[in-house]
């Protein structure tokens, strides 16, 4: 490992402009924080979920489809607030799905700050498609 630590001083050796590097650090941090929060919520919900239902028989050979409480954003949030454990796990998963969406939104803002309108448009199109999908269009 010692040989790698001196060759990887994060973005310093990439040759990117300072503004570019700042955006890379921001995007990297957002992805890390989003995934950490999502994993923490799913993990804590998962422990409680397994403590309650761990000895139940697990059978997913036939597709039944998730109920509304676990397949709509409203249902999931309501269930999670009522500490319905499967819904808490599902909320963690929704947060994970939302992480790349938040990353795209951050990219829109970062390009706007730099008045790079071409890429504001490009990122905004991607953001709109993601929101359309997540809100169940």
């Amino acid at each position: 490992m010692a040989t790698h630590t001196d060759t990887a001083p994060t973005a310093v050796g990439s040759g990117h402009a300072p503004a570019e590097e700042r955006m890379e650090q921001l995007v990297g941090n957002l992805l890390r924080i989003g995934v950490l929060i999502a994993a923490a919520v799913a993990f804590l919900g998962g422990i409680a979920f397994l403590a309650h239902y761990g000895l139940a028989r697990a059978d997913y050979a036939t597709f039944r489809g998730e109920p509304t409480a676990l397949s709509t954003l409203g249902g999931i949030v309501r269930g999670a607030l009522a500490l319905h454990w499967p819904a808490v796990v599902q909320l963690g998963i929704v947060l994970l799905i939302a992480t790349p969406v938040a990353r795209v939104l951050l990219t829109v803002v970062a390009f706007a700050v730099r008045k790079d309108w071409m890429y504001v448009l490009v990122s905004a199109v991607v953001f709109a498609l993601l929101v359309y999908s997540l809100l169940g269009g």
Binding site: S14, L31, G46, A58, V89, Q90, V126, L130, G136
Partner: protein, 278 residues
């Protein structure tokens, strides 16, 4: 099997998939669906939903590290994400109308191609020649870190890359995979980006592509928390370990072993699809 046992086994399987997926740049998703359907007997629709979640976890986890190191080309990634998200929505829509057997067969074919592709040796091409006018206009040319300091590179053949990315998006949405192989193919071969830039930018894009179809699958009830939980956490821990080991790691022999495993799973998927056992 009870839920605790299934959770533990799924976690182990997903951890391995995440580690290898991140080291080879192919993503763990390619093996999650066969693992769930063939080994655990899970319905392919739940398997696809679960796999998509794991793909987002791998991509975001590993991308966080690569973006900071300056390998990822964010402009190339954003531009091509337009193609992959439209493709992903198309794929998720198609998945809702075709029979599960058809999906299994397509999965098998794509997996066989991935196995073949990942066993091919990689040669780093020299980026030279006249700059591409479209790439210059789109400000896509950039630099990436090497042991000898920043190395400049140019981007070529953007329309070809864009078209391939749409295909990658369709496959991602239809099969619940990251389709890193097609993404790397588009950037490495068609657009002639340096290999490490291709793999890390692919990883960066995979999360957004998968999120586009994951929304559709969530509303369709394909995402089961009891399956997604251990797979997501397993793949994430494996991928994080893999991302830390990336600089300087020789992945050639690992790619070969992975190619053989993927080929075996592909044949099993094809067989199950054709005989209607899925």
């Amino acid at each position: 099997m009870n839920l605790l046992e299934l959770t533990a086994l799924l976690f182990l399987g997903a951890f391995t998939a995440g580690l290898i997926g991140s080291l080879t740049g192919l993503g763990g998703g390619a093996v999650i669906v066969p693992l769930l359907t063939i080994v655990f007997g899970v319905d392919i629709r739940y398997a696809i939903g679960t796999s998509l979640v794991s793909v987002i976890a791998t991509s975001s986890g590993a991308a966080a590290a690569y973006v900071k190191e300056g390998y990822t080309n964010i402009r190339v990634g954003m531009l091509l994400e337009v193609a992959t998200t439209i493709g992903a929505l198309t794929g998720a829509f198609v998945a809702g109308i075709v029979a599960p057997q058809v999906i299994a067969i397509i999965f098998g074919v794509v997996l066989l191609h991935s196995a073949w592709q990942s066993s091919q040796p990689r040669e780093e091409h020299v980026t030279g020649g006249p700059p591409d006018r479209l790439a210059t206009w789109l400000k896509l040319d950039s630099t990436y870190p090497t042991p000898n300091g920043p190395q400049a590179y140019q981007v070529h053949r953007i329309p070809a890359g864009f078209g391939l990315m749409y295909v990658a998006g369709v496959l991602s949405g239809l099969l619940g995979i990251g389709s890193g192989v097609v993404k790397v193919l588009a950037m490495d071969r068609a657009m002639r980006l340096p290999f490490k830039v291709s793999t890390t930018t692919s990883n960066f894009m995979i999360g957004v592509t998968a999120a586009a179809s994951a929304g559709v699958y969530l509303h369709r009830g394909y995402i089961e928390p009891a399956l997604a939980l251990p797979v997501m956490l397993g793949v994430l821990s494996g991928a994080l370990l893999g991302a830390r080991a990336l600089p300087g790691l020789r992945t050639r022999s690992l790619r070969l072993v992975f190619a053989v495993v993927v080929a075996a799973l592909a044949i099993e998927m094809l067989y199950n699809g054709i005989t209607g056992k899925i």
